[in-house]
Symmetry: C2
Subunit: 567 residues, 2 copies
């Protein structure tokens, strides 16, 4: 069977760049529809080592709102995962309704390595080695191809097809893309790659292993090319832009009809899910219910004008950290473009240094509505490999979250060493929106400062780099941006009633923010205030702060780190 190859025609009057932009907009719209229509979309990317899948995925993911998908780089199983049935760890990660899940390698490559070749140690630990499929004993290094005739291979195929059918039957959308590359192209690319990054080339990339494995992979693809989960094949050549375009087009072509069908069936009475959408709004981290507010009132039931002020603290003693911020700072477009390139390139390099030195990093983004958090995060991840970072959008807590301490739901996002977590809003909600909207008691937000400092110390103590940004805009500039959003149909979804409501409480938030900056500005996890009336200036300052901080951490007094880097 021949798998369908993706081909694409470039209209004469358009450049690659034009098309990437165009497709990007389509994908952005589709992503929002996926959320609104409660679809579950899982995209898997497969391909041989050094097919530059990482780079292609990164580019084609950019149009997505990084808060709207989960990215999984499928690596060797953890010691815990190794003790469970093979498909378990993938099943857990399939996209929930309203979300996208993107897998960089999946149950295919891991199936080959773990399930068939048994290279990651004893995966199926409950079966003693002697009980292995006897056919397995037949093939040696030189006849690996024989594996496709074993019952083990049959099992894997049946497992996968059954799993994907279950998914499809439930209305889940599964997009499977395989990247192929000719031998010559692979070798050329590998050499370029070696020069530009300190990333380690995988040992599996030798030609000998390749020829053996690709034979098995081809059979696996053929046998799993089903009506409910077909493969799309993209041939990667020298032109990376073309591969990116093909990828974007493939996703659009598969997603559009599915969204269209769902649109027709959709009954728009699910207020709740629509609300979830407003993750850009300060308020939306909690659904504000009047009952809650009542519950959190003082016991005497009073709620006078001064209640929001904290009578135990003399506010005049807290320095105003915000009034001195010079919001006139700005960059010209030209200067911005130059600096953006400079710091993005540097950050792109430094992520590998962090990885190789096993240093983790946490970036916290807080700021006024429309201060530019989303845009800034986008400029950061543009230069990162999705295998190394995760964006964690902080939305309405689930009912499970609400059963725990308020810090609990942030624990899962703490990065393992070598990786980066970017929190789009964070645990600081406790001392901002929850304080101002009275979603917690005064006693609770007051002790939260210490709790947060302790929590961040838990991160910095073992060497995690913590950088916190407060994106500051003037009230006037916020209004301009609100109006611009209201006028632009592509950005209209970003603006909600809650944004306007928050704006009315500007002064209360101002006081809360100021106290937050004062109480949680610790030595190891300091705040950086970003002058954000000019988006160009803001983005550059953020990138520069991150770059400088990493450089400081990896050089520092311990020259040993620098030495390692140069080895």
């Amino acid at each position: 069977m021949v798998l369908p190859k993706v081909s694409i025609e470039i209209p004469e009057n358009k450049t690659y760049k034009d098309l990437i932009e165009e497709y990007g907009e389509d994908l952005g719209v589709l992503q929002r529809e996926v959320r609104r229509l409660n679809l579950s979309v899982t995209i898997i990317f497969e391909g041989w080592y050094d097919s530059f899948i990482g780079e292609i995925i990164n580019q084609q993911l950019l149009p997505f709102d990084s808060r709207g998908f989960d990215f999984y780089f499928t690596e060797a199983p953890t010691s815990e995962e190794q003790k469970k049935p093979f498909m378990t760890r993938f099943s857990r990660k399939i996209a929930p309704k309203g979300k996208l899940a993107v897998f960089d390698r999946s149950w295919y490559m891991r199936g080959l390595i773990e399930y068939l070749l048994d290279e990651s140690g004893p995966l199926l630990c409950s079966i003693p080695n002697t009980e292995k499929d006897p056919a397995l004993a037949l093939f040696t290094e030189t006849s690996k191809k024989e594996i496709i005739h074993t019952s083990r291979f049959e099992n894997l195929v049946n497992n996968i097809n059954g799993f994907e059918k279950t998914l499809a039957d439930d209305g889940g959308i599964l997009i499977k893309i395989y990247y192929g590359m000719s031998k010559g192209d692979r070798l050329r690319q590998k050499n370029t790659w070696k020069k530009t990054t300190p990333y380690i080339i995988d040992k599996r990339s030798t030609e000998k292993v390749y020829r053996e494995d690709i034979y098995v992979i081809k059979e696996l693809l053929d046998r799993t090319h089903t009506g409910y989960a077909p493969w799309k094949l993209i041939l990667v050549q020298q032109n990376m832009d073309l591969a990116i375009l093909q990828t974007m087009k493939t996703i659009i072509d598969l997603l559009k009809p599915a969204v269209e069908r769902a649109r027709q069936d959709f009954v728009p009475n699910v207020n709740r899910d629509e609300k979830d959408d407003n993750s850009d709004s300060m308020d939306s981290v909690f659904e504000i219910k009047d009952e809650n507010k009542n519950e959190n009132r003082d016991k005497n039931g009073n709620r006078d004008e001064n209640e929001s002020r904290d009578e135990n603290i003399d506010f005049d003693l807290i320095p105003d950290h915000l009034s001195a911020v010079d919001l006139t700072k700005s960059y010209s477009k030209k200067k911005y473009a130059r600096l953006l390139k400079k710091y993005q390139n540097r950050l792109s390099f430094l992520q590998y240094v962090l990885y190789s030195q096993k240093r983790a990093m946490v970036l916290v983004f807080e700021g006024w509505d429309a201060a530019g958090k989303g845009g800034s995060i986008k400029r950061i991840v543009q230069s990162l490999n999705p295998r190394f970072y995760r964006v964690i959008p902080v939305a309405t807590p689930t009912d499970v979250d609400l059963k725990h301490h308020y810090l609990w739901r942030f624990l899962d996002g703490i990065p393992v060493c070598g990786k980066i977590s970017i929190y789009d809003r964070s645990w600081y909600g406790r001392v901002m929106v929850e304080r101002v909207e009275k979603l917690c008691t005064k006693e609770e937000w007051q002790r939260a400062y210490d709790e947060i400092n302790l929590f961040e110390k838990m991160l910095t103590d073992p060497g995690i780099i913590v950088i916190k940004f407060w994106m500051h805009v003037s009230k006037d500039r916020q209004l301009d941006r609100f109006n611009a959003r209201a006028a632009n149909p592509l950005k209209h979804w970003k603006l909600t009633d809650e944004d306007w409501r928050n704006r009315e409480k500007w002064d209360e938030y101002y006081e809360a923010v100021n106290q937050m900056l004062d109480r949680t500005n610790t030595k190891d996890a300091p705040w950086t205030i970003i002058e954000s009336d000019d988006k160009y200036y803001a983005r550059i300052k953020i990138l520069k702060t991150i770059v400088k901080q990493i450089e400081k951490e990896i050089e520092g007094p311990e020259k040993i780190n620098q030495k390692r880097l140069n080895e």
Copy 2:
């Protein structure tokens, strides 16, 4: 500082057994109050290796409804956990509101081993070895005691105290019990232990290591004996019953006043949480809402008498698996007691065999309301070490669950190899309550049979033993038990309006159950129907089935397993 030792007086007219029963009832009541009042209760048990903590914990946990607490045996960190800050994995497991979490060893013993002694490999992987506390280099094997003067030790103490204060401030209840044992008692117990089980004695139990470590532990206990999280010290001697009593009494004494306080503050308008309580009811796995029912109606909106019958299937072709069940089977109390002891002892032994052979097991309990699932599960876990098993009560799905495929929420409970998961109700809800109550579409429950078979194949393929019980009672016997529950104030909570409602739909459930037994009775994961009109008979048959199945799996054609066992 001297930590408070727990002492207890045994009234002359009572035996240990009397008191254990008495305390057990108190604990059962307290547990239900914890749930009703939405309290978060975390109990940690600490002590030296071979202090028989496992055995003591197991006994004192028995009065608790095993569905109402999470048990954590704290082992070496997984490869994933090793890459994260030390306290993270404990923080994630702290009891949510309305639940108990029980830790067999916790951040104390692990703190000592991982954080101070660094024995589990590079835990703080982001800090290069050379950056270690210079003081650490000072002490050698023979002067380990010096560790308490390092800044690392200070850090651990501060981390723990800060963490526990955060917990307490949030209203969390933390009970900390340390078991001490004299040298002579320890050695004596160890020898008994060696004879009765194939369990491996930890290498840390040598006297030399003990003397060094205990010095550090003592200092750690002293420094963490705080007002918000005090220690209770229990001296374990030859008499295990006494230690168990002391433990139960300690928990009761600490929990009672906390529950009392909460009771006074409690405003009982939280209908939802009260509903959650009815986990024994067939219906309660879903909150039945009328809107939902409407949504799941056929598109034409009809809902006639025959709709619940499946017109695509000729029901006469499905054999009636239930009509032939002989519900008169019973055992005398004497025979029951004898067989109970026999099979519990055997199971107690076999659990270690499973562990040492790395075989996992899944037990699925389904049955009519009041068929005796809870009581049967209790008789199983009585003979198990809590380190090896987990009871997974299947309750109302959370909003997170509802965003996924219906099988998703069961994935987390799949046991790692060597361990046992007991599902109290399960994924079969799809083809019973969800079918009968129309919580899913007909198409959905119809395809669920295949999905479930595939899911269970995923378990059995790598060698997990799957045993499924349908506990069958007559309609009359169910009524007797409902009435008995209604009359007994200690069991009254077990009976809900939903139980009565389900009873009215007996015939619809009967049809669903019969079809379920027919469609999902696979070779590797067969159903066992349990005649449950007589509880004694039912419990013995369940225990016997489990024992026989394990014996079959570990003997079987592969004598290698048996050999290993004898080594």
